[in-house]
Amino acid sequence: MKKATPETEILDTLTLEDLCRFCQADEAWVIELVDEGVLEPMGATVRRWRFEGVSIARAKRARRLNRDLGINTAGIAMVLDLLDEREAMIRRLSRYEGV
């Protein structure tokens, strides 16, 4: 058993290369997700892309959906949109149920 108090930092921006390592995915797949509009990096060219918090979380979710359920990028784009919509509805519903 180890006990340690390591340093922590918030992961805020990642390059394409960092994001690929982070999600254990290859560049072509990430570029496909950007083309599909799932991820919205800052920066004009692929080499200058910077992925921020929301895109990092979405990329990781996308990778899991792809790896675990075999969903392709078009399917992932739709699943993530529907999940966002569902989440917003659940929140609205809980507000009404709470009143």
């Binding site: 180890k2 390591p6 922590t8 918030i10 790896r67 507000r95």
Partner: protein
């Protein structure tokens, strides 16, 4: 170690075809995928389903597993008979993300095969886990102790599960869905290389009165009927401390008030959106009853004026 009934986990008969096993697995994987199913136990169910599939999808592994027989009735901890797997050839691919399956799986099915993957590069593998914190932790920063179980491969290729306790400093201003990086806390590297990083995906525990969306905080603020009617200042407790809030005259239930900069802290702090909810006092004394009766008599108010059909 407890016996795992993989057929029961997938809801298939012991003589199910490989095709039926695959179908049952895919159906359950979709149902319990933690990115899709938000139930508290979905992740555990998903892992169990994957573990069962990992064994049953492979005819060699499945045959070895079948040799073990059904769950021993009324027995204590499960012990595999010696030589249970002789004559079967399988290698030990395990779960993704270094999470580790049950003791049962790790002991019987995990072999050193993964060790090559872990040791080939100069750098250790990254690990991923989730952490649930309270909204207040983002306002103040906090320290949480995280318990992780990771399969560790030694140089001879033997796998064991290691329990790790890591104390994690939660950075102030963290938002839900962001990741915390703990440098060098992932998988170890061979030959003095750099260890991988540990990434923690942050989610907020449900809170009875607050919920966060990005950097903004949403609150339901109860007000008395006279506070809503007359307007004025009320003191509202928030995770960042008490704030003074001005209620406009004739405020409606459901009306949203914005408190700039009082949301989650950070470089660009969020706002608080307070939704007003008018609540009535319990009328239990003669005095309270008299006050309401007077309002009923003297106020020309028809709450159902819009309902005339």
């Amino acid at each position: 170690m407890d016996f795992e009934d993989y057929y029961k986990t997938l809801g298939v008969a012991r003589d199910a075809s490989q095709d039926d096993i695959r179908k049952a697995y895919r159906k359950l994987a979709r149902k319990f995928h933690p990115d899709i199913n938000k139930d508290a136990d979905a992740e555990a169910r998903f892992k169990a389903v994957n573990e069962a599939h990992e064994v049953l999808k492979d005819p060699e592994r499945r045959a070895a597993y079948d040799q073990l027989g059904a769950e021993p009735q009324g027995a204590g901890p499960f012990q595999p008979p010696p030589g249970w797997d002789s004559g079967f050839e399988f290698t030990g691919a395990g779960p993704q993300d270094n999470e580790g399956f049950s003791d049962f799986f790790e002991t019987l099915f995990r072999r050193g095969a993964t060790s090559h993957g872990d040791f080939n590069a100069g750098q250790g593998r990254d690990s991923h886990a989730r952490i649930t914190i309270d909204i207040e932790d983002s306002y103040r920063g906090a320290t949480r102790v995280l318990h992780l179980r990771m399969p560790v491969v030694d140089r001879s290729g033997q796998v064991s599960l290691e329990d790790r306790k890591i104390s994690v400093t939660i950075p102030k201003g963290i938002r839900e869905g962001q990741h915390i990086r703990l440098k060098g806390q992932g998988g170890p590297a061979a030959g003095g290389g750099q260890a991988g990083d540990l990434f923690l995906e942050v989610s907020f525990a449900a809170h009875p009165t607050y919920h966060a969306e990005g950097e903004d905080l949403y609150v339901t603020l109860p007000v008395a009927p006279w506070e809503a009617a007359l307007g004025g200042h009320v003191i509202m407790p928030t995770p960042g401390g008490k704030v003074d809030l001005r209620i406009p005259k004739n405020a409606r239930s459901g009306q949203k008030l914005r408190l700039k900069g009082k949301g989650l802290p950070g470089r660009s702090p969020g706002d608080i959106f307070a939704t007003l909810k008018i609540v009535n006092p319990d009328v239990s004394t003669d005095e309270a009853r008299a006050l309401f009766e007077r309002m009923a008599r003297e106020l020309p108010f028809d709450p159902r004026a819009q309902m005339k059909g």
